[in-house]
Amino acid sequence: MASAKEIRGQIKAIQNTGKITKAMEMVAASKMRKAQDRVLDGRPYAEGIQQVIRHLMRAHPEYQHPFMIKRDVKRIGVVIVSTDKGLCGGLNTNAMKKALIVMKDSGAEVETYNIGRRGTLFSKRIGSKISAAVEDVNDSPSVEDILGVIKVGMDRFENGEIDELHLVYSHFVNTMTQTPTAVQLIPATFEKEENAGRWDYIYEPDSKIVLDGLMRRFVEARVYHGLLENKACEHSARMVAMKAATDNAKEIARDLKITYNKARQAAITQEIAEICSGAAAS
């Protein structure tokens, strides 16, 4: 049995770990609330742009933007939104699994676009080509932070280097539940609305510029929204993981304390026995 002193050291160490995880839990909890607010703040734009594009489709059912034309799939791009840091439970692992499914299902060659360090590590591990990557996106991200990555993806699609662009991120359901989600960004699909009234727009400066700009912003908005959701997921997953770690630390410390008391008792008993036998012998 370990000596009482050793056990005391262990208890101290565990308690310190518990303090750190408790602090991380509380930090994550406050960041999570802010991240959730940001998701809500970004919603009007995301809904607005979707609506505008739907109106456009209605006005020009025959028009096909390059981003809407399907072609034979030889090579796909996957935008993987992940976290920079670990310690957030299975969040990234689950997203990566989803990404793998997307890759397998396509049966095509794959290249990845990574937002977040974990995704980059994953891409390296599976040996896929990394076409663009951004790391250290802070907690209040702006669209500019991720514009570069998306632009590379859209440009490569336009140049015919990839035939599909997918997005994988974690969808925020609630604090306990995050679902890994995959969506196809390009070619974009919109459900056709029948019997809706249609109107003709006036375009300024001309229809092509407006449509092209809108489609690009639409793709950007979706990735940006994915990033916001992923941030909310990250912090809630971390909060839950750290809560579990804190509870575990408490439990281990309690068990160790029992062991410590037993060891102490055993030592005293032994000492008394030694004294008694010493006295009896003399």
Binding site: R38, D41, G42, P44, Y45, A46, G48, I49, Q51, V52, H55, L56, A59, S142, V143, W199, D200, Y201, I202, Y203, E204, P205, S207, I209, V210, G213, L214, R217, E220, A221, Y224, H225
Partner: protein, 136 residues
């Protein structure tokens, strides 16, 4: 008869304005747009500039750095690249941004996107001009 229409101004980060208006002026890329209720459907890209939302005597001003505007008879949606209310634009920040943009435009090294710097400069200059006008 409806003499007002709904206005939504949003950027990817947040909603900037939502409410009714009886007149709206926007910096369309082909010239200033004035929009009244029952305007014919229109889609336009926006230049950096000022958006004025009138409701009765009340005028709300929002600075946009670009984006798109969709006009329907009763609803106007402005999808701005970035938007600031008159109250939360800080002049010092605007000056700083302009200086930085100029710096980048002057020291034109190989890896810096010249076109991008130029557009940043245009945005900063437009924002500053707008602010100065406000101050008078």
């Amino acid at each position: 008869m409806a003499s007002t229409f709904q206005v939504l101004v949003a950027t990817a980060e947040r909603e900037v304005y939502r409410g009714d208006a009886d007149f709206l002026a926007a910096p369309g890329s082909a010239g200033e747009l004035g929009i009244m209720p029952k305007h014919t459907p229109l889609l336009s890209s926006l230049n950096p500039g000022e958006l004025r939302i009138h409701l009765g005597e009340n005028i709300d001003e929002v600075f946009v750095s670009g984006g798109f505007i969709e006009v329907q008879p009763n609803v106007v949606t402005v999808l701005a690249d970035s938007a600031e209310r008159a109250s939360d634009v800080d002049e010092a920040l605007a000056v700083e941004a302009e200086r930085k943009a100029q710096e980048v435009a002057v020291s034109q090294s190989g890896d810096i996107d010249y076109a991008r710097a130029e557009s940043e400069l245009a945005i900063a200059a437009a924002r500053l001009a707008w602010l100065r006008r406000k101050k008078k």
